[in-house]
């Protein structure tokens, strides 16, 4: 009798202590989550722990890289020949297009010189390779093998040969995380190439598609229309292909058309991507005019120094 009571007592107190400890840990976790949500601790912690995290990512990316290598090593001669032929064709086409583009670019350059604008067409890019890491099945994120040591900064635009892929959202010393344009958090200002209608393409939950929920009912939108970046907002540079309209329906409210688009970039298949070095020039209201005043020479000493400094 005494024994069972004793046993019960220890069991009870042990479970009480356990519950208490659980509550302490849960509270600690909640505090961490709240602080992370507001202060973005996780990014800082990840940057600090990069020397542990990055090797893990590199290691985790190895199997898929090995599969790629093996595929090249063991693919049949016939397939390689076929692929070679395709690539040659593509190269020829691309060259032809490039030649045409060069002519257009030259013309454009002349026109721009005429207009005395100083924006150059040449864009600095940086080649990056995808590290195949599982960042969660429901998250549209990719990991690239360049980081702050290579001069990457958050906000840089990621493109592949076919169009816009997304933008860099988190930078570690030797890797960075990019958000795809299909991410539910992503929104990209676009213009419909055929008609010039401007709208915004959002990411969607049903992976791999873009949603355009607010096209005016009066706008002329058809299936197959291609979308380009409009350059509004200043994050994505104008004129890059974003996708093609796959379906158009009236929205639930009847006030807007709701279109679904297929991204132009090969979001799942690209292994080499480009990072745009130059961020797009912000398009918006002009910079506020410098307040007029008396000539600098006439200003008192202190003010003059401050102006010179600024």
């Amino acid at each position: 009798m005494a024994l069972t009571r004793d046993g019960n007592q220890t069991l009870f107190s042990a479970s009480m202590a356990g519950t208490l400890r659980l509550i302490v840990y849960l509270a600690l976790a909640c505090v961490l989550m709240v602080f992370d949500h507001h202060g973005h601790w996780l990014a800082k912690a990840r940057y600090g722990a990069a020397f542990v995290i990055e090797p893990v990512y590199k290691l985790a990316g190895l199997p898929s890289q090995a599969v790629d290598t093996l595929e090249v090593a063991f693919s049949s001669r016939k397939r390689l020949t076929e692929q070679n032929r395709h690539l040659r064709q593509d190269l020829l086409l691309a060259n032809a297009r490039l030649n045409r583009m060069a002519a257009v670019a030259k013309q454009n350059h002349k026109l721009k010189q005429l207009l005395e604008t100083q924006r150059t067409l040449g864009m600095k890019v940086q080649l990056a390779r995808l590290i195949d890491v599982d960042l969660g099945a429901y998250r549209h994120r990719i990991m690239l093998n360049v980081g702050s040591n290579q001069g990457v900064t958050p906000g840089q635009v990621i493109i592949d040969a076919n169009g816009i892929m997304g933008q860099v959202v988190e930078v570690l010393p030797d890797t960075c995380v990019g958000m795809l344009i299909t991410d539910p958090d992503s929104a990209i200002p676009v213009v419909i190439e055929r008609t010039g209608v401007r709208t915004v393409a959002h990411g969607s939950r049903q992976g791999g598609r873009l949603l355009l929920p607010d096209i005016p009912v009066s706008a002329d939108v058809r299936v197959g229309d291609s979308l380009l970046t409009s350059g509004l907002g200043g994050r994505y540079p104008p004129g890059f292909p974003v996708g093609t309209i796959a379906s158009v329906q009236p929205g639930a409210s009847g006030m807007f058309l709701r279109a679904v688009a297929q991204p132009a970039a090969h979001l799942k298949r690209s292994s080499n991507v480009l990072l745009l070095r130059d961020l797009a020039p912000p398009m918006g209201p002009p910079a506020p005019a410098i307040p007029m005043g008396p000539p600098v020479k006439l200003a008192p000493k202190g003010v003059q120094a401050r102006r010179g400094g600024s």
Binding site: S15, L22, Y25, L42, V56, K268
Partner: protein
């Protein structure tokens, strides 16, 4: 002494491996159904070597997983702490369950884990996941016998030699 150390290595190694498997990519078709490895490994050790497992360890493992996946710091720490707490609480009963009953318990634990994940995600303003979200716990429960038998085999070998 040496075998004891080997068993320790198995313990630490299995936990680290489970974290590594968390970020190991799978083909797109099955990526959504990946079992939640750290949970399975923690459940095993909580059942078989309770002296080693405590809530603090679960918390630290979860923090490691959070650092690796980079979603929300503290999210997996909370979920794994709850999971280990539940297993430790009912450990004396769970140990004598048959494999089928254990599979059901693991399924319940993983589903509970998903519910917590959903709640935390909604609080943090993440979008609602697709229905495939609820399939992964099923896969995890079905894989549980494999994890259990593999770890148990290694564990008992090291333990038998120890005595």
């Amino acid at each position: 002494m040496n075998r004891h150390r080997a068993r320790n290595w198995l313990f630490v190694g299995s936990l680290l491996l489970s974290l590594f498997l968390l970020v190991l990519p799978l083909p797109d078709a099955v990526a959504a159904y990946k079992p939640y490895w750290p949970a399975l490994v923690l459940v095993y050790w909580a059942l078989e070597w309770p002296d080693k497992i405590n809530l603090g360890l679960a918390f630290v493992t979860g923090l490691g997983a959070d650092l690796l996946t980079g979603v929300l710091l503290g999210d997996q720490a909370l979920r794994l702490t709850v999971l280990v707490f539940l297993v430790m609480r009912f450990r004396s009963r769970l140990r004598f369950f048959t494999m089928w009953q254990q599979i059901l318990v693991v399924l319940a634990l993983l589903l509970n884990n998903r519910v917590l994940q959903l709640a935390i995600g909604l609080f943090a303003g993440q979008p609602l996941p697709s229905p495939g979200f609820w399939v992964a716990p099923l896969i995890g429960a079905l894989i549980w016998p494999l994890v259990f038998l593999l770890l148990d085999d290694l564990n008992t070998r090291l333990r038998v030699r120890e005595t």
